[in-house]
Assembly symmetry: C2
Homo-oligomer: 274 residues x 2
Amino acid sequence: MPYYGYFNGVITPVDQIGVGVTDLGLLRGYGLFDYFLTYGGKPFQWDLYWARFQRSAERMNLPLPLTKEQTYPILMDLLARSGQPDVAFRFLMTGGYAPDSISIVTPNLLILSEPIHPTPDWQYERGIRVILDEYVREMAEVKSTDYKRVMLLNSTIREAGAQDVLYHKDGEISELSRSNIFLVIGNRLVTPNRNILYGVTRRTILDLAKADFQLEKRPVLLSDLYEANEVFTTSTNKKVLPIVHIGDLQIADGQVGPVSKQLLARFHAFTGKQ
Amino acid sequence: MPYYGYFNGVITPVDQIGVGVTDLGLLRGYGLFDYFLTYGGKPFQWDLYWARFQRSAERMNLPLPLTKEQTYPILMDLLARSGQPDVAFRFLMTGGYAPDSISIVTPNLLILSEPIHPTPDWQYERGIRVILDEYVREMAEVKSTDYKRVMLLNSTIREAGAQDVLYHKDGEISELSRSNIFLVIGNRLVTPNRNILYGVTRRTILDLAKADFQLEKRPVLLSDLYEANEVFTTSTNKKVLPIVHIGDLQIADGQVGPVSKQLLARFHAFTGKQ
């Protein structure tokens, strides 16, 4: 069965949706999105994802055309039509169609169901490598569609045998291109608290870890990486994914560590209870 | 007659073009464009616009699917179908459809014909007002679709009774949201030479002025504005448009000056010879 999507009130197969060429997402990069999964047929952390989408829309001055209560049945409808037990959902909202190619009239809202693309097993087993890039995303706390930077770095990442990029600026690290970062230093879990997109998985991991770890949400320096016993990244799709090399630096012995494994197991257990 | 557009080899009325939802322009803001007019049925400064589009595409690692020679007849076809003596053309190229929502496979190229929206007469007669914003566009020299900043400032601009924004950083001015800036200081024409999109109209005006003015292409400071007898902005659509207020500063006596008028007249004469 095809995957279905909702576009301004109409539900059709995703590959039949066509966005007109005066859309401000296309013409002016004026768009925001969010992305989340279902587990056991239910949207995982639905309250948190919706709240973030709502905040992003507010920050971009785009009024949401649907309430949370109106949106949930649409998700359930799209899931049912997919014929799958679980799907990924993507919200995409743009500035809408602009007759003059610049003025916002009515936003366009898309809700798309998609197949889930799991992160490959080998990445959990061996950990990933990331390159460094001096950069802070504009309005990092808003889940806008602005990913020019990582797209331009794609070949550099590939040539370095890496999988992603870690942004830093003025000696301070912030986030990977589409995920957050944690350092394990002894019994402390350290994660940046500014210039980042506040990940729902980041927050979930902080909750799941708080009984056993000292949590430090604070500015984190590049030099803090030298102290780290483990580093991992968190996101909707990556869950808890170990990072073993950052630029020229090997993290500790370059192996996936026990804390990353333990937190991934806790995360799996938590999603299983959904 | 409707306006027509070209999309990956197919020509249809513009309002029938639908871009699929896995397009990286939509999903990731990964797109570039260009925009130019015909005068007397011919694309004005075609060589310069094409060269800029080509450079922008290169900088974004997107291979152009058409040569200049293949593109020109498409423009002529679109113009003829419009039934208009002159049109605006918009190139729009994105990272194309990405099954995984991030990887570039084949770019999408659109060539759209559009009605020309002339800048209102009153703006030439009275000059425009702009607000100030501390900002430099990422990759300013590339005509990417990244216009989040000005879209977010739209209501601030309106509330200030202004028409646009002048970007500056560390005391240095660069450009308006979609056009270049010139200062007239005595017999000198001063225009920023970095952190800008190198406008074709900017270059045309520099050519048209060089016999009678001393040209200074250099970093320009906010404080240089105090010295200016006139300020104007240039772009494809604005041509030579006087600016009479910048933030709280009135330029000279707040009236449209003779140099702006003279250069606009020269520009009109030049386009008339097309």
